[in-house]
Symmetry: C2
Subunit: 436 residues, 2 copies
């Protein structure tokens, strides 16, 4: 019977067997100590017997072992217990010196990024590195639990599409049995269609973008959460759902994984259930006044403004998350609803968190005739096969609806406090990287 | 304040407003009845006022409305209540006659498949059709909850790969900034690598296969659950996890959604916590004896045998799920472990359910030297970039491990009792279908 590392302290006085990887070896006062890592953490083991010490010779970090010994209280050991009189059984010997140090705190400097990803197979065994991806797994779980409790239905929509539907952006193309297919950049059209059946839907899946720039912000494959909800009374309903989700997920994460976040030097959480809301025009004005850097002629938000308004809200309003609303008409996409009270703006909000946009949350145009007109105004052909089916849903009756795309990689990055979205991704893909 | 259809019965005597789609209109004894559909179900409404009846004229099924009226007990109405003295507010008018009948029980005959998928945008509004995808959403949820409670970490691995790693099978290729990339057929290599960090991992995501045959069993894009677990004592541990998952998910589904399953004419569940296990050789022998159709010279299982053994186990052993173990060496893939007790067989089990394979659950070869030899024996180049990183994980120490790929579409199909895997998929993709 295997005992997990975290359970050793509950077995004081008993003989137990742990199974895991040798994580550290050291000599101290004539005694050999090893740490063994398993999925639950580390356990410290004292090797006294000469024969057992001999077994360790030539074996490297990563060696897979069973260790049987007596559980003894030891406040200085991880978990407050260690194994004595240990007997080793080598399951998988490792002879090569590992290419990375498994035990060091993470040090994600920008100049080390290539080394980091080239050695991802190994460095993800680092306890600190692991925590990032355990937190990512939990964030996925909390998001889904929140959405299920709000009656969202999970959908799985195709990533292989018949030609590009949204023009402009970079799209991967492939040969599909002799015709051209493209890889989906988002489930935008499908999730809107599904409002007609389930009202509230979500999907977590890959999104593909042939992003030719080499930055810390962009990947050619990312994980997106997409939600869509119908029968909203207005745009504000979408914002409320988004803030409620982010607040619920983050407060739960800091509560249940506070220690892991602290050990990763994640920032303290500064958040209230209601996130401040500013229009783009208001941000331009506030930023210009505060910095003397005039952005009042800007249409979109600048990255400097995104950082500034988050800092401002954190200091003055107790919130690291901010909605910026009423984007100017220049940014309008055909499926978004123009603000009826100010047709120079769109009912589109960005959710900023710790200085960057993590989600874009617009309301949609749900009137068939207006939607077709908006397509034509933008030179989009409503009879394109990718749109024909989309428009069917509107013709058959779609209620007022809105939703958001939510960048999971970026959310994990900003939650943990990493430099790059790629550090929050197990195997990032960009223009220069297609492996491992 | 909106009241959901399912909540009307709790508001008897009160004036409430429901929002939804007109689902049915009919005249009965001089009264106009409409059913309104929302995400929670149907509510029946009696329209008495002439002016209100007039509003309905020319409006089709699918019209989006708010209806305000008094909630009245009515045992014959869905949910046991209906609205009287109703006042209609048309939110989105619908003028075209819908292309499909929204209210009919599903009738998935094989000759109707193209009509079904061409009209998916509309027919998913059908209450019966919807149930399939609500059940699918729940199956996803139950699987994840089971895996989290068993300490699996959710991972998200790239679908864009540097060239084909597993030779032979049909692979989609695309241009990736001037180099060739392929679409992942499974997260096989990544999930094994991740055993080195988390021991137990899973992923639910799309899998791509350029499947040139047009059958009811194959799609070019499917949703796969992939799990991998380390520190197993033997192959049996993998089987136990798989049967425990399937048993837990199915019994919970039949408990919580028994009515929906019944209304879809899903088969009754015949299952025990322990699934019967037969070797491939045993099935050949039993089948040959029972049917006089000699399969003892066959290597793989035949489709007829898969159906037969499931029927046999259902009738005689009280289980619609069966493991078939010890596949012949001819089917061996390089990463699978050869049975040390019988090197003519592989430690590979298929999980059959209601006549088809829903999961393939092998143990892996975790010894670096043996693995490299198995690759070479199969003419696979261990220095291929796709394998270089994979092998790093073994060199650094990987414990005995195994896992399974689990076809979610097929599992939903067989659970609900559908004819084709495509009927369990919102927007199926095959050689002839890339839309909607």
């Amino acid at each position: 019977m295997r005992t997990l590392a975290k359970e050793v302290a509950n077995q004081i006085g008993s003989q137990v067997t742990v199974s895991g990887w040798i994580h550290k070896k050291r000599l101290l006062g004539g005694l050999t100590f090893i740490n063994v890592r398993d999925r639950s953490g580390l356990v410290q083991i004292v090797i006294q017997n000469k024969e057992e010490v001999e077994k360790l010779r030539g074996l490297q970090i990563g060696t897979v072992v069973n260790v049987t010994g007596t559980a003894v209280e030891e406040p200085r050991a991880p978990g407050g217990a260690e194994l004595h009189d240990a007997i080793l059984e080598i399951i998988v010997p490792v002879e090569e010196v590992p290419a990375i140090e498994i035990d060091k705190p993470i040090d994600h400097k920008s100049e080390n990024q290539d080394t980091l990803f080239d050695n991802r197979v190994l460095n993800v065994r680092n306890l600190h590195e692991q925590k990032i991806f355990r937190i990512r797994s939990e964030i996925n779980r909390y998001i889904r639990e929140f959405l299920h409790s709000n009656e969202f239905v999970e959908i799985q929509t195709p990533k292989l599409l018949a030609g590009a539907t949204e023009g402009g952006a970079e799209i991967f193309k492939l040969d599909y049995f002799g015709q051209e297919a493209t890889l989906a950049q988002s489930p935008q059209l499908y999730k809107q269609i599904m409002v007609g059946a389930f009202e509230r839907v979500f999907e977590i899946g890959p999104a593909f973008r042939a992003e030719p720039s080499m930055t810390t912000r962009h990947m050619s494959e990312s994980t997106m959460l997409d939600i869509e909800m119908g029968f909203i009374e207005g745009h504000e309903d979408v914002l409320k759902m988004a803030e409620n989700m982010v607040y619920t997920v983050l407060t739960r994460l800091y509560e249940e994984h506070g220690d892991a976040l602290k050990s990763l030097n994640a920032p303290e959480l500064v958040l209230k259930p209601d996130f401040p809301r500013f229009t783009v025009a208001e941000v331009h004005e506030m930023y210009t006044k505060a910095t003397k850097d005039d952005t009042t002629e800007e249409k979109d938000m600048t990255p400097a403004e995104e950082r500034w308004i988050c800092e401002y809200a954190k200091k003055n309003l107790g919130s690291e998350a901010v909605f910026v609303t009423e984007f100017p008409i220049e940014a309008h996409k055909f499926y978004q609803k123009i603000n009826p009270e100010n047709p120079q703006t769109v009912l589109w909000a960005d959710l900023l968190f710790r200085g960057v946009e993590i989600s874009s949350a617009p309301m949609r145009e749900n009137n068939y005739d207006k939607l077709v007109q908006q397509m034509k105004d933008k030179g989009i052909d409503p009879t394109h096969p990718g749109f024909k089916f989309y428009l069917q849903a509107f013709k058959a009756g779609l209620p007022p609806h809105g939703g958001f795309g939510f960048g999971l990689d970026r959310f994990v990055q900003k939650t943990v406090g990493l430099n790059s979205v790629k550090e929050a991704t197990l195997f990032p893909r960009d223009i220069n990287r297609l492996a491992p």
